[in-house]
Subunit: 401 residues, 3 copies
Amino acid sequence: MSTVYDVTRWTIPGQPGVTAKHDIGAVINSIIADVKARQPNQASKPGAVIYIPPGDYSLKTRVVIDVSYLQIKGSGHGFASSSIRYNAGDTSSWHELWPGASHVKVENTDGHAEAFLVTRGGAPRLSSIEFRDFCIDGLSFTPTQNSYTNGKTGIRIASDNDALKVAGMGFVYLERALVNNGADAFNVTDNFIAECGSCVELTGASQASKITNNLIGAGFVGFSIFAENAEGLLVQGNNIFPRGRSMVHLKTSNRCSITGNRFQAFYPGMIDFEGVNKENLIVGNHFRRVPEGFPPLQAFDNGKDDLYGLIHLVGDNNMVSTNIVSFDVPPSAITPSGATPTMVLVAAGDANFISNNHFVTNTETNHVVLDAGTTNTKILDSGTAAQILAFTTNYTLRPTP
Amino acid sequence: MSTVYDVTRWTIPGQPGVTAKHDIGAVINSIIADVKARQPNQASKPGAVIYIPPGDYSLKTRVVIDVSYLQIKGSGHGFASSSIRYNAGDTSSWHELWPGASHVKVENTDGHAEAFLVTRGGAPRLSSIEFRDFCIDGLSFTPTQNSYTNGKTGIRIASDNDALKVAGMGFVYLERALVNNGADAFNVTDNFIAECGSCVELTGASQASKITNNLIGAGFVGFSIFAENAEGLLVQGNNIFPRGRSMVHLKTSNRCSITGNRFQAFYPGMIDFEGVNKENLIVGNHFRRVPEGFPPLQAFDNGKDDLYGLIHLVGDNNMVSTNIVSFDVPPSAITPSGATPTMVLVAAGDANFISNNHFVTNTETNHVVLDAGTTNTKILDSGTAAQILAFTTNYTLRPTP
Amino acid sequence: MSTVYDVTRWTIPGQPGVTAKHDIGAVINSIIADVKARQPNQASKPGAVIYIPPGDYSLKTRVVIDVSYLQIKGSGHGFASSSIRYNAGDTSSWHELWPGASHVKVENTDGHAEAFLVTRGGAPRLSSIEFRDFCIDGLSFTPTQNSYTNGKTGIRIASDNDALKVAGMGFVYLERALVNNGADAFNVTDNFIAECGSCVELTGASQASKITNNLIGAGFVGFSIFAENAEGLLVQGNNIFPRGRSMVHLKTSNRCSITGNRFQAFYPGMIDFEGVNKENLIVGNHFRRVPEGFPPLQAFDNGKDDLYGLIHLVGDNNMVSTNIVSFDVPPSAITPSGATPTMVLVAAGDANFISNNHFVTNTETNHVVLDAGTTNTKILDSGTAAQILAFTTNYTLRPTP
């Protein structure tokens, strides 16, 4: 029997009226049941590919994936800006209104938050499930289209997993686009994840994963990239644009790399460390901070003021080097009013290493601020003495000549 | 009806004799017309995928794409060196002569320059069109096979656009491979673009785009990568080989990143700034400059001499750091004769930051040259005092110890 | 005739009983013979795509590829940890046992080592063959499952080649996963290559190739990445985890880039230079060294002691800059007993440039050691004077303030 399924050609046994157009979730669950029925032998469970041709598909029933090696694949990431459309006023003359390509419209009527849930108990961990080249669209936010909230999650991976891959996907208008709890060697690459509350969240703990070569932009209270208890995460070569409460938020994560990314933000806390985070590498990134430019969203921010730091460090032995920071915020928009904005804040920790950074600012800023209690920070070639503000004497400074 | 089209199985209504082999352009246009006819409803226009199986296809009619979410996809980038073949002499014993895979032979007989034109008026912008995994071949150059000119353009995107993607493609022997005018979040990744006059051009203006993880090499008068009025372009992780008038040419572009690339060139001006370009980041790249090694092309160059700078900066607050520059040109090949070659030229601008670069040169060079009128340049750990040449006193130097 | 083949639908002429399940190698060879028979014309040999649907396929006969533009493609990289399974004890309750997706089981009965051999004499070089999105599984090691040896090679490319691509693949339990002899513009991207003796080997010589955006981890005596006589190789944005005798091993290779990678290792010699290697760039990487944590493999190592250097340089003008090195090995596990571990060893060579590195170590280490005979090394901002050990006076040191 074929291991290649097409959602438009599948009939749910006993439910011939439920097509992929009406409930792609029910159809995919039925296909997965078929895969499992046809692969009963522990020694041969290669999985299957489920193809989603271009089309608009309602998802009313959550998909539950509990088999390894399943690939769900479409023919295009299909992103379009719903934010622009919802704020555009009269769209009656528009060519099209919605995102498209292989377009899954998340309309759960089953009481579940997720479009796709990946979970399995027992051993081994789920391995090598792939999501490729389709669009998951949360359709609308509530109570307003600019709230970035609707309770919808695109993909949630709930049990420990190995070698999963999310590539070429589009995510739009979901409160949470992609959540992985317990990732090992997770590969998030070449996706377009924008206009979602939060974009990529590695919860629980993870190791040896990577988020590379993506286009990402979250909502004003959500995370573009969040990782807790991560070890050795590589965030590399992404173009991450506004908004996002933060661009990369690390919580008790160690030895992660944030390298070669381009970041643009409307708020402080572009890199945000929560809890103690050690030995992370922040190198070769472009940090751009400007005020919110889109009138419908100018009322919102992430609640942090300009003393929080564009880069907010908590922890030991983090290295911040060879980045450019470009800050261009009108003095009238700086908070607290009259404050001197902080570019890099070492809020707590020992032996952080800040070197060879170039700052371009439209107003006087503190390039580096060391809070009381921080120890052994080294600041090299990252500003003049006047551009460093230390509430401790326990640091070393070599001013930029 | 299916949204999955195969160019080899499509018959143009009323023109059964025009097959994809004879004119894939006419066939794709007919498919697009069908997509539009079948998706008249503004609220549901998910688009389609057009598949090009491996094969040789003449394109006599320009394809015009004016629908979002269209994916045109083949099964292989199909590059082969036409330059080697045309310069090889007798090829009668060769296994094969031409590029291949899903191989579109650009033979326009319709008076148009482009193989693929993407354009639409009105709102919204075209979104999420994808070109994937096929080969666009211009076949020959005129007046000679080494001219890199033939008036042919592979893909030209002419109207403002969002979230378009070009991935896994091959481009060969086109005067202009890929041109995008008005890009937002454009994704050019994993392509093979070589032996084209110019490879990737972002014209007009663009924002938040990326050119990542490609193999690229242009002709001697063309651009490997060109961007004008770009904001926040990420050029990351590419292997860019000769020739190319430049490797990355920025024109009045700001806050772009050129990081983690490997560059090899036969001429000065590897990074070339035209107009005023600000706050760009050039970090972690490998710059290799050698003389042209291919006899048929040794007569050509990009018209720049060795005083132009391998990296030619015009503008403010650009950061050039942590690169290695490897220059190995016989003194007899240096122009003007007897000149001391310039590695980094700051031709104009304020507050450029040049730090922590390592230069390996077979002859005496000026690592950094500051032209008169430049101000506030900082040069740190990028050469001895003797290796810096300043026509101004308005700069700061910390020589490499 | 179609150029799209499906291994499950192909019948070998005269051998109807040999299906892809029984010997996918024989089936693919038969398909290749068909491609060649149908494309006899030197002027039109576009090749074909051979699709491997999800499934378990025995490969008993080596595939020999001698046509350009062939794409062999599956629907998933299918990695699962065989190492964990073999060391797990009773797996009778496991959901599944083996890797999966488009799963090629390497069981050669033809006396050959390779699953796939790419080779052709004459001109031109083979071009643009692609391996995409399937799994090559060596199944078991001998004499024990923890030996990483079985004489099996996944893909060996034996003749000079241009623009080949290996993307989205999984490799597991092969003694050698991927070997390319004579690569030009080779593209290894987005693969999962783990639990193999050696992962990626560029032998002979290569130029302008790239190994980017992969997840890689080799066996204790093999290479994660090996390149000899390479020019301009780009190793960028990979997450490379244990074990691996080395992470990147360069042999007489020049002007390669090792940038933006995350490395974790259990042994010294994470970057290992053999012979004279010049002008290589090692920037923006995260180096993590811990002891072996998996009990069944704690008896093994790569034979190098802690004086070898985590980064072992031999050659001239290499640049090691802006990396973080995190070393956390119990003193009792350091060899030779009582030794002060070496982080960066310059074993031989001139004018190496080591700058702006941050070292985090749980015990006293030598950040940089210069062997006798090394000349003109520059060490900037990479440790205190006490953390540099020089057996020569021919160097320059600027201690980290």
